[in-house]
Amino acid sequence: MSTVSFILPSKKYKQRVTIFSISALVVFVACWYMDFNPIGFFTEFHFVRDLLGEMFMPNYHVLADDASTAFSIVQTLSMAFLGTLYGGIIAIILAFLAASNTMPYQFIRGLAQFSLSMFRVVPILVVILIFVIAVGPGAFAGVLTLVIITIGTFGKLFAEIIENVENAPGEAIFSVGASRMQVIRYAVIPQILPSLIANLLYAFDVNMRAAIGLGIFGGGGIGFQLQMAKSVLHYKDVTALISIIIVLVIVVEKISDYLRRKILGDEKLK
């Protein structure tokens, strides 16, 4: 056998073995600390099997019997739409204030950049809990949270998009006497509009998923219905609602993908 390689392991091989065993040890210690046994998922699989047994077959009568389910789907879509619309508008305004080529005053620029990063780091859980207290549980609290999420996720990206525009058209019309507003209107906006719209479509897709999660904390919509059905142990309703969620998410994703591809052209979309 290749005893030589065991007598003289290469430096690279030694290094790899060290890295691998250290990482394995770290994972092992972490598992031990959390009292988590990955194999437990399989040895105690009968819990999952029991649950699946209770979940089937899905009870689609929730759709027919109760108008609130159908309404909650509309509500979730509305939440995602409003969150994207208002969040997008605020994000675009902040992005213009934070981009170096549209905002000449460093103080305002710094302020806008700081507020964008604050929106980014503030935990979503805190935001939804505060809004539920401020405006009461329901879809409106969810909408306000989605506005914050959208500003946080897309504000910085929009600022980068604005900063990456080509300068030549702006300089050309500036040199013939266009005002700063006119430069933005005729040189910057035409360049950024396609990617802004494409990103907002993607934001709608993201917000749609987030809206479902927010429902569980009192944000309204189909997530709230799901939480209710689960807490009264109506697992057949839960299965029906989950399948509705899956269809909803896939449909929204496909539509948003299709529109984005149309706006940006095939090659620009990764």
Binding site: F41, L51, P123, G138, F140, G213
Partner: protein
């Protein structure tokens, strides 16, 4: 006068006015469905500002109680990412067209797509229903949550690897396992690590949210403090969470830069 009317004619601005009107109409309808109104927003903003007054100042005496839950949240995110990445590699190999046959590929791609459309929090709710409260359902939910994103990304990476290396290994008699370990894995490891780090950032944020639903950790502390009306304590938890998110983001950025420069631990 005539010219002015022409300048601002409907025809000229039609392509702006119509989409804006449609958007406004949809927004109005959506606002009705959500019960959104300016009056409620105004009232809510006043309440929210007053509420911040209640939260201030943070209760620093609770700070030491927050450290252990915060650490637990980080460990939950870490283990979720590790097991999720391992699971994703398996799924990605089954979903890559150059390693598996078209049947297996289509089924796996379908499963990955299915997983991506289920929010992690829904998976967690189901796992809690099966296993009860605790860190275990949280870790499993995060691990399964990785498959939708990492599985797809890694499958695309595997489909783009240099196939000559694998062909030459097969021609000298390597079996499937040897091809994967010595031919495929070394090529995907740089991407694997940088995607896993990216997912770790997401999982840190998720582990806070999942904590509030019942996976424990700092999210639970926050939700509990809100529920017990201990707002000063909640503020402390919030600050700890912000530091946690900020710290992991920076750490993962630094590591990613290192990988880019060092060529993934080569």
């Amino acid at each position: 006068m005539m010219a002015k009317v022409k300048k601002y004619s409907f025809k000229r601005y039609r392509k702006y006015i119509i989409p804006v009107l449609v958007l406004l109409a949809v927004a109005e309808g959506a606002g009705l469905a959500c019960g959104a109104s300016l009056a409620r927003l105004q009232e809510g903003l006043f309440k929210g500002v007053a509420f911040f007054g209640y939260m201030f100042p943070p209760d620093w005496s609770a700070f030491s109680e927050m450290l252990q839950p915060a650490f637990q949240s980080i460990i939950i995110a870490f283990l979720g990412t590790v097991f999720g990445t391992l699971l994703s590699v398996v799924f990605a190999m089954l979903a890559a067209s150059n390693l598996s046959n078209s049947w297996v590929r289509n089924i796996t791609r379908f499963l990955i797509g299915l997983e991506r459309s289920v929010p992690e929090i829904v998976i967690l709710l189901l796992l809690i229903a099966a296993f009860g409260l605790g860190a275990m359902p949280g870790i499993i939910a995060l691990a399964l949550g990785c498959v939708g994103m990492l599985g797809k990304l890694l499958a695309d990476v595997i489909e783009e690897i240099d196939y000559k290396m694998i062909e030459s290994m097969e021609s000298v008699g390597a079996n499937k396992m040897q091809v994967i370990v010595f031919g495929v894995l070394p090529q995907i490891i740089p991407n694997l690590i940088s995607y896993a780090l990216f997912r770790f950032e997401i999982n840190i944020r998720l582990s806070v949210i999942l904590g509030a639903v019942g996976a424990g950790g700092i999210g639970y502390e926050l939700d509990y403090s809100f529920g017990m009306l201990q707002y000063h304590r909640a503020f402390t938890a919030m600050l700890v969470i912000i530091v946690m998110i900020f710290g992991t983001e920076h750490l993962s950025n630094i590591l990613r830069e290192k990988i880019k420069v060092g060529g993934a631990l080569k």
